[in-house]
Amino acid sequence: MRSFLKLWFKSAKLQIARRMAYRGEYFISLIAMFILELIGPLLIFIIYFNSEGFPGWTFYEVLLVQGILLTVKGFSFFSFAGIIWNSNVTLMRGEFDIVLLKPRNTLLMFICESFDAEDIAKFIGGLLITTYALSHINGITLVGIGLMIALMILGVGFYFIIALLASSFVFRFIRTFRIYEVMDIFELVGRYPKSIYPKAFGTLFTTLIPIFIIAVFPANALLGRLSIDMVFASVSIILLIFISLKIWFATIRRYASAGG
């Protein structure tokens, strides 16, 4: 694991260096990415101020949800979700063979080679928004922060599941699939608290597709609004990670038998 992290940092450094070769373009695209990411939270504010708002949520609490979501998503995107895009690219060029040629775990190797230097903007933006929101919320406890971070890590797990399944899907069936649009839908759903959804959806998004874990639950945990739903979602995430890992490796095994 330590040697994997070393390799991952090395790859991250290389990818950033790669983008720095065109420094101006890189910074512009970082800024563009950041501004694009602000559209989501802005929409929420328009909804917040033009209607009854979110029942039981203050403005800064809603901002916190947006910040957490962007942090979790940003971290996932730059650190591993690049495998979705990279599945397309390597398949098209038949270059997955090169990944299999390396004396490393295939998935970890693939993640290392799929680092996405651009999405760092999302992560940093998320951290900024989260910190800003936190500074306007009273009565924060250390336990609350700890729980929030733990749930955010599981939220990253949610994106990990999506990335593995999407990558498997690309390997198994088609080479160009607009999976990122599907991820946008998850994100849209994850922006709102459970209370605005019909009951059936609320249940679905805490158990089978535990979307609330990417933002709403961590925020709730920080605010001391704990619920049993968080346990269901956490258990579900861990099970789903296990299943999607199985699926991914089976897909790769199949790829290696079919010869791409």
């Binding site: 040697s3 070393k6 390799l7 090395k10 790859s11 290389l14 260096a17 790669r18 070769a21 060029r93 038949g94 270059e95 063979d97 090169i98 299999l100 040629l101 390396k102 004396p103 490393r104 775990n105 190797m109 069936f173 088609i174 160009t176 699939f177 095994r253 290696a256 038998s257 079919a258 010869g259």
Partner: protein
């Protein structure tokens, strides 16, 4: 000492018609048209440590398939492979740290970054220690004359320059075997020469066993001490390269000052006209089995003055054609 042993290796490809777009993909979940192609029909061979073995064969013969299986990235359907005690596809992670590979069309370098960065990444992947890495790197830079190349972005390099760097990628971790799939494809004569010299040197100095596939018969002729010819998934020849050259046959291109009397020439025993190049020049295949070469030439010349003469071994391509016909 045997380093590679292959027994009854079989591989079939099942190709499904793969749909483009989402709807097609969903459809193909339920109903798919299937095509089976037997790429390797049960091949056997072995390789000794320190050999340079050439895989030769026409397009689609199964050379790349064999190489992919041997390098642990493709599962066969059946058969045994034992390479240094490993079964490549079962012990992949451990096994591949002992081998290196250059696949002509697939790059291990990073397009936007200089090769030197890729070398350092390779160092991290293979956990090569600093001293060994620097030593190897220095040696390869000298052997391949790439001092100035490795600091330029890969995308700016010519194919030949890039290929030399691909070889460094394949060799940095001091593999015991390297697999080369069409490593000289598209290169000019000078670049080919550099690569061939490099292969020869690492084979001699580090006792690296080399398995190479190529379209280029000169690669094979110049490098290999053993040739395996594959055709349609079967091995049709497996022996020393010397055996492949039919040494009793020579190709002679002869050029006269006067017009050639073709009628007479055709009647000569042990002489076959391969090609009439002009009224004055012909290429002949002669058999030196029963007769000395100078005597044959004397008969061909029929008292006329020779302007130019070129005598050589028959190219392997003709020999292979003959083997395929069998």
């Amino acid at each position: 000492m045997t380093i590679i042993k292959v027994e009854q290796l079989k591989k079939e490809y099942t190709a499904y018609e793969r749909g483009e777009g989402f709807l097609e993909a969903v459809k193909s979940l339920f109903k798919r048209r299937k095509k089976v192609f037997r790429a390797l029909k049960g091949i056997d061979f072995s390789v000794k440590k320190g050999d340079i073995v050439g895989f030769l064969g026409p397009n689609g013969a199964g050379k790349s398939t064999a190489l992919k299986i041997l390098s642990g990235i493709l599962y066969p359907d059946s058969g045994n492979v034992n390479i240094m005690g490993f079964t490549p596809w079962k012990d992949r992670k451990k096994y591949v740290s002992h081998i290196g590979a250059v696949f002509g069309q697939k790059s291990q370098l990073f397009w936007d970054l200089p090769p030197l960065d890729a070398f350092y990444f390779q160092k991290a992947i293979y956990k090569i220690n600093e001293d060994a890495f620097q030593e190897q790197l220095k040696k390869f830079i000298k052997m391949l004359h790439i001092e100035d190349i490795i600091k330029r972005p890969t995308r700016q390099l010519s194919l030949g320059e890039r290929m030399r760097c691909e070889f460094v990628m394949a060799m940095l971790h001091q593999p015991k075997i390297i697999f080369l799939d069409e490593p000289t494809i598209g290169l000019d004569i000078i670049a080919k020469g550099t690569i061939r010299n490099f292969i020869r040197e690492i084979n001699k100095e580090q006792r690296v066993t080399v398995i190479i596939t190529s379209h280029d018969l000169e690669d094979i002729e110049n490098l290999c001490n053993k040739v395996i010819i594959i055709n349609k998934g079967d091995i049709v020849f497996d022996d020393k390269i010397k055996k492949l050259k039919i040494s009793r046959k020579k190709y002679i291109t002869i050029s006269f000052y006067e017009k050639i009397n073709l009628k007479k020439l055709k009647k000569l025993k042990g002489v076959r006209i391969k090609k009439i190049i002009s009224d004055y020049i012909v290429r002949l295949e002669v058999n030196t089995y029963k007769e000395y070469l100078d005597e044959i030439i004397k008969r061909i010349r029929m008292g006329k003055r020779i302007k130019d003469l070129d005598i050589r071994e028959p190219p392997i391509v003709d020999v292979i054609k003959r083997i395929y016909k069998k």
